[in-house]
């Protein structure tokens, strides 16, 4: 019965017992079991990653009124495996003048920065890698390693397009880290903890109802962090060919590509965790850990689907628009929202739950409305200024 209550611990205890029975040191056995656990998690994630390629291609096909992969296997399900074999047997090229060590390290770091995120993801109430009390900061820290991998890949390729792509991507990533971190403070305020599991446990009411604006800002910042459309200026096929990963071939390119897909899926998962209750769904998570994992996967898939939906619907925006949008709109808005949420939280400390939720929801609506009004007024002023100039020009002619 203990297996069904706490499968990780039961399995780990059993395995440790086996290893100790073989005459292994207890500490060494423990280290080996933890290592095996990490290994299994990464294996599962990589298999999911292979299927994500198929899902992404099927979804984009639907958005573009096509069928997508449909030749190999049922619904084209064998296609991603064929693609991987192709990537593996492709020639592995290194450009002239490339910095070999850095060049080869970059795809690994890129994949690593995504996989390391899953260390803090609680799959079920009792199934979590590490329950860090700084879990949210850990996510940002892992993102900065991803930024580093892009710089390394872009610079070491010895190609001006890849350097420009890397610059753009890093500019996007370090800008959108700011509103993302600010918005992550909002679930922290509600839960009173930065631990990911504590945030899920305290979501008797999904935080999206308490702070819908924070959920929207988080999603926008996550899409930018992923470098997906409309923030995919690092790729810019028409100007930069493909961005920081131009020179990579075969599986090294595959690592960047797979890393991007898994990153999108992971951020879909974090969206679900921070604002939609993670593995919780009306007490179903307490029935069995299998349900909890399934609920989390479904929520991650929904988040991933929204990321894809945005990607295949929006046009790419220019870098100055992107920076202005972030620094003049999203960052101030995120900070204002944090201040308002913190103040409301302090004011309504003793209030009943329904009043708390209603107050939070309304304050979010007010902040969003005020922000949009300010932007609208600024837009109207700008339009009048530009059109006024035109009128003067017309008078001169």
């Amino acid at each position: 019965m203990s297996f069904w209550n706490d499968p990780l611990k039961a399995a780990a205890d059993w395995l440790t017992g086996v290893f100790v029975g073989w005459g292994m040191n207890e500490v060494a056995a423990h280290v080996l079991v933890v290592f095996l656990g990490v290994f299994v998690l990464i294996m599962i994630l990589m298999v999911i990653d292979i299927l994500l390629v198929w899902i992404e291609r099927k979804v984009v096909a639907r958005f573009q009124d096509r069928i997508g992969p449909n030749r190999l296997g049922p619904f084209g399900l064998i296609q991603p495996f064929a693609d991987i074999i192709k990537l593996l047997i492709k020639e592995d090229t290194t450009p002239d003048g490339a910095d070999k060590v850095v060049y080869n390290l970059a795809p690994m770091l890129s994949m690593m920065s995504v996989l390391i995120l899953w260390a803090v993801v609680p799959l079920a109430p009792v199934m979590t890698g590490v329950d860090l009390n700084t879990g949210l900061l850990f996510i940002i820290a892992a993102g900065s390693i991803g930024t580093l991998s892009i710089i390394m890949g872009g610079w070491s390729s010895n190609n001006k397009f890849s350097v420009i792509g890397a610059f753009r991507q890093v500019a996007v990533m370090i800008s959108f880290e700011v509103p993302m971190l600010a918005v992550m403070l909002i679930p922290t305020i509600f839960a009173g903890s930065m631990g990911v599991n504590a945030i899920i446990q305290s979501q008797d009411i999904w935080y999206v109802w308490l702070s819908p604006l924070a959920a929207v800002i988080f999603m926008i910042a996550a899409i930018a962090e992923l470098g997906r459309a409309p923030f995919d200026l690092s790729e810019g096929e028409s100007e930069l060919v493909s961005g920081f990963n131009i020179e990579y071939s075969g599986m090294k390119f595959g690592m960047f590509y797979a890393g991007e897909l898994l990153h999108a899926f992971t951020f879909g998962g974090f969206w679900g965790i921070l604002f939609f209750g993670g593995y919780r769904f009306f007490g179903l998570e307490n029935v069995s850990f299998i349900f909890a994992i399934l609920i989390l996967l479904v929520k991650a898939m929904i988040g991933y689907w929204i990321i894809m939906w945005v990607k295949y619907t929006m046009m790419r925006i220019r870098i100055d628009h992107m920076l202005a949008f972030n620094w003049k709109f999203l960052t101030p808005l995120a900070f204002a929202l944090v201040i308002v949420t913190a103040l409301m939280n302090a004011l309504m400390q003793g209030a009943p739950a329904w009043l708390y939720v209603a107050g939070m929801f309304l304050s979010n609506i007010v902040v969003a409305w005020a922000a949009l009004e300010i932007v609208r007024a600024a837009g109207r002023r700008e339009r009048e200024r530009v059109e006024g100039v035109k009128v003067v020009e017309a008078a001169h002619h």
Binding site: N133, T134, G143, S144, T147, L148
Partner: protein
């Protein structure tokens, strides 16, 4: 030797080696990447000291912001000039080495007089939340609220100064 000591020795050796590589690497970008490795090693040392918050902040601030800006600055300069071909040390190298050795010896002898030098740290009491304690200490009047606020004012002043310098006067 405990497991923690072994891990500490490995991490310390890697950190010191990368720190050495920072000052000896010929390529500036390589030096910056070795610096990232050094800072990462320091973050691991923080983790070993049970200061998880400091470790994560170390990665976010030093690797995520400072090291990346550093690499940016290096990359924006021309690549031919970034490779240093001159001699690695000047004629005063022995003076620097002597000063470093003296500082290390001085700190070592000072710390030996401290009672906590040879003690192992006691474990946290159960239910102790280091992040919570740190947050409370930073905002409580009996704690560090004044230094915290002064540091914030300093940062805002730096920010305003940077904006003023970069501001395009029309």
């Amino acid at each position: 030797m405990t497991t923690e000591q072994i891990i500490f020795l490995i991490v310390g050796a890697v950190t010191l080696l990368s720190a050495l590589m920072v000052v000896t690497a010929r390529d500036l970008v390589h030096a910056a990447l070795w610096l990232v490795a050094t800072l990462f090693g320091v973050a691991v040392v923080y983790t070993l000291l049970n200061a998880g918050f400091l470790a994560v902040v170390q990665v976010v601030v030093y690797i995520g912001a400072i090291a990346i800006l550093f690499i940016f600055a290096v990359m924006l300069t021309r690549r031919q000039t970034s490779k240093d071909t001159g001699p690695a040390v000047n004629k005063n190298w022995w003076l620097g080495a002597l000063l470093a050795a003296l500082t290390f010896a001085g700190l070592f002898s000072l710390l030996q007089g401290w009672s906590g030098f040879s003690k192992t740290a006691s474990a946290f009491p159960s239910g102790f939340d280091a992040v919570n304690e740190l947050g409370l200490a930073l905002v409580s009047p009996t704690g560090y609220v004044l230094p915290f606020e002064v540091a914030s004012v300093l940062l805002v002043a730096a920010l305003v100064g940077a904006v003023y310098l970069a501001f395009n006067k029309k």
